[in-house]
């Protein structure tokens, strides 16, 4: 029964894998620098590693936004987000699973009358704007750095090609890891209540309940990559990167850094330790981080290549995706509750917002689940 409810999250994971792997390996595969088979294997392995090792940070913030506490509710939230992604992809509208899931959670909050944590919402929305900007900044710095290194080293073009090819694989692996770490929250975040309670031990490897749930979600992302991303990598990926291989490497690295920054508890702690504010651990849009990085390089080159319609599309996507997901969730929950007579929220529990802004997400730490207090 649990697996049936989880299916919507797994479907969302599958579509995320099919779409977002193109951001990481689209350029490499599209230009035939890397074989699809190699790209798919690397992406699948690292997306799972990222999700299991570092996935809980962003999930925590999503959990604070709205604690979807009944399986049928979680199913509806994830399904609505998946439908939004599917619908917007079909009509070629810019879409992000991160924005869809946030909209869907808020839709659940509205329907069930649970409060939305404005602090978390502000944190998440501001990150959506900062993620592409940060992607652009990273890309500009990395591009300039790379240019200086290539010029000074006077490396032979063919040798450079080999290095870039290896670089694309390494950066792609890092990108997949960051994608798993950051975006697993979108796929499995709302199902945290359904996570197994016992630990699973494989020799020296111990997986907590949440890690087991994330492993399952990440596997669906991996299946999405293996089964459906080839076409997108060879077409959309290639179109998205009308850039040189050097620039493509920088763009993927910048994107990966953005995703990593917004999912690394260690980095956030390090930043805090030197007296700076903590980095919000939030699921960000992989596509928008990539577009931000491309725009950064576009601006560096004089801004001639910047397409205003793409920028407009991003801005519209920020608004339309969460709203559409929220509305779909609201009506789907009504349908679930009144037609299928399923419990979409646990009325026994009432959500209390965490008073603390501290982010406490040690691996497998399920403490944040207990922010729910029994009425």
């Amino acid at each position: 029964m649990i697996l049936l409810f989880l299916s919507s999250g797994l479907f969302l994971g599958w579509s995320l894998g099919a779409n977002d792997a193109a951001n990481i390996f689209g350029s490499a595969v599209g230009t035939k620098m890397v074989k699809f088979r190699t790209a798919a294997i690397i992406a699948s392995i690292f997306v799972i590693m990222g999700a299991v090792i570092q996935g809980s940070g962003a999930a925590h913030t999503l959990g604070k936004l709205g604690q979807v506490n009944a399986l049928a509710g979680s199913f509806t939230v994830a399904l609505s987000a998946a439908i939004t992604v599917l619908f917007m992809t079909k009509y070629r509208l810019p879409v992000s699973t991160s924005q869809a899931i946030v909209g869907a959670i808020i839709g659940w909050n509205f329907y069930t009358g649970n409060p939305t944590d404005h602090n978390s919402l502000t944190k998440i929305v501001s990150t959506w704007i900062f993620a592409p900007i940060l992607g652009g900044i990273f890309a500009v710095i990395l591009y300039q750095l790379q240019k200086v290194v290539i010029e000074r080293s006077k490396i032979h073009l063919i040798k450079l090609d080999s290095f870039l090819r290896t670089g694309l694989l390494i950066v792609g692996a890092f990108g997949a890891y960051s994608l798993g770490a950051n975006n697993i929250a979108n796929v499995m975040g709302v199902f945290i209540d359904a996570a197994p309670t016992g630990d699973l031990t494989f020799g020296f490897l111990k997986l907590t309940g949440i890690q087991q749930l994330f492993l399952l979600g990440a596997s669906s992302i991996a299946i999405g990559i293996i089964t459906y991303s080839k076409k997108i990598m060879s077409t959309v990926g290639n179109k998205l990167f009308a850039l040189s291989t050097e620039a493509a490497l920088v763009v993927v690295l910048a994107h990966s850094l953005v995703l990593f920054v917004f999912s690394s508890q260690g980095l956030s702690d390090a930043v805090q330790s030197i007296g700076l504010p903590a980095i919000p651990l939030v699921p960000v849009s992989s596509s928008q981080a990539i577009i931000g990085a491309i725009l950064g390089i576009g601006l560096l080159k004089g801004g001639k290549e910047i397409k205003l319609d793409v920028m407009g599309g991003i801005a519209i996507g920020w608004i339309t995706t969460p709203i559409a997901a929220g509305v779909i969730t609201f009506f789907s929950l009504f349908f679930m509750e009144h037609v299928f007579v399923l419990q979409v929220q646990d009325t026994e529990t009432k959500i209390e917002l965490s008073q603390s802004n501290d982010i406490k997400t040690a691996q497998g730490d399920k403490d944040y689940k207990t922010v729910q207090a029994k009425n």
């Binding site: 230009t31 035939k32 620098m33 010029e151 006077k154 490396i155 032979h156 073009l157 063919i158 040798k159 090609d161 080999s162 090819r165 290896t166 040189s244 291989t245 080159k301």
Partner: protein, 215 residues
């Protein structure tokens, strides 16, 4: 590791290919001088050598092209690079063909323009000789390509000027030449001149390729 190994092999082949064109130029100059100085044996040796070098260059070019496709090397620059290599091959072909035309058609070159003919071959090959370092530097420092190519354009223009002078001498200054002989000599002047024109074509392609890499 296999990737780095194949890269090294392609780099070595490209360098060797450029060397072959360079040797072709030297042989061409020697061949013209030998023909004009009527050193038949030496001229025949040159013919044999240039044919061998041209054959080796062809093999190398095909090998490079195969390697580039087989290992999907340089997907972004591959098309341009293949065109560059093919146009460089045209230079080699032209040099070989020209010497064979001298061998087959045996044009009678009047004594008065012997030196001009030798100088023409020298200038035309200078354009090729200046082109080759630019091709080499394209792979490591594309910004330096432009600095080297201006010498190619210079020698090409100088070749044009001298060819025009030679043609003027043939048709207007040298007495007792039959019309057929004049036309024959004009063609041979043109043949030598064409080598620098082929170098100019490669220089144009290289300029665009370098700009693409700098951007």
């Amino acid at each position: 590791m296999a990737l780095f190994k194949s890269s090294k092999s392609v780099i070595r082949d490209i360098e060797e290919y450029i060397d072959k064109i360079d040797q072709g130029g030297l042989l061409f100059k020697k061949g013209i001088v030998d023909y004009l100085d009527e050193r038949e044996k030496s001229f025949q040796d040159v013919l044999l050598s240039i044919r061998k070098e041209e054959g080796k260059a062809d093999t190398l070019r095909r090998k490079i092209e195969n390697e580039l496709y087989l290992h999907s090397l340089l997907p972004e620059h591959r098309g341009d690079l293949m065109r560059l290599l093919e146009k460089m091959d045209d230079i080699m072909d032209l040099m070989k063909e020209n010497l064979y035309q001298f061998d087959v058609e045996e044009p009678t070159v009047p004594e008065e323009i012997h030196d001009d003919f030798k100088r023409l071959a020298d200038l035309s090959i200078s354009a090729v000789e200046e082109l080759l370092p630019a091709v080499r530097v394209y792979f490591t420092d594309p910004k330096a390509v432009k600095d080297r190519l201006h010498r190619v354009y210079f020698y090409e223009k100088e070749t044009d000027k001298l060819a025009l002078e030679i043609k003027r001498s043939i048709f207007k200054k040298i007495p007792n030449l039959r019309q057929s002989q004049k036309i024959h000599l004009r063609y041979f002047t043109l043949h030598i001149e064409n080598v620098s024109d082929a170098a100019e074509v490669v220089a144009d392609i290289l300029t665009i390729m370098a700009i693409k890499r700098i951007q």
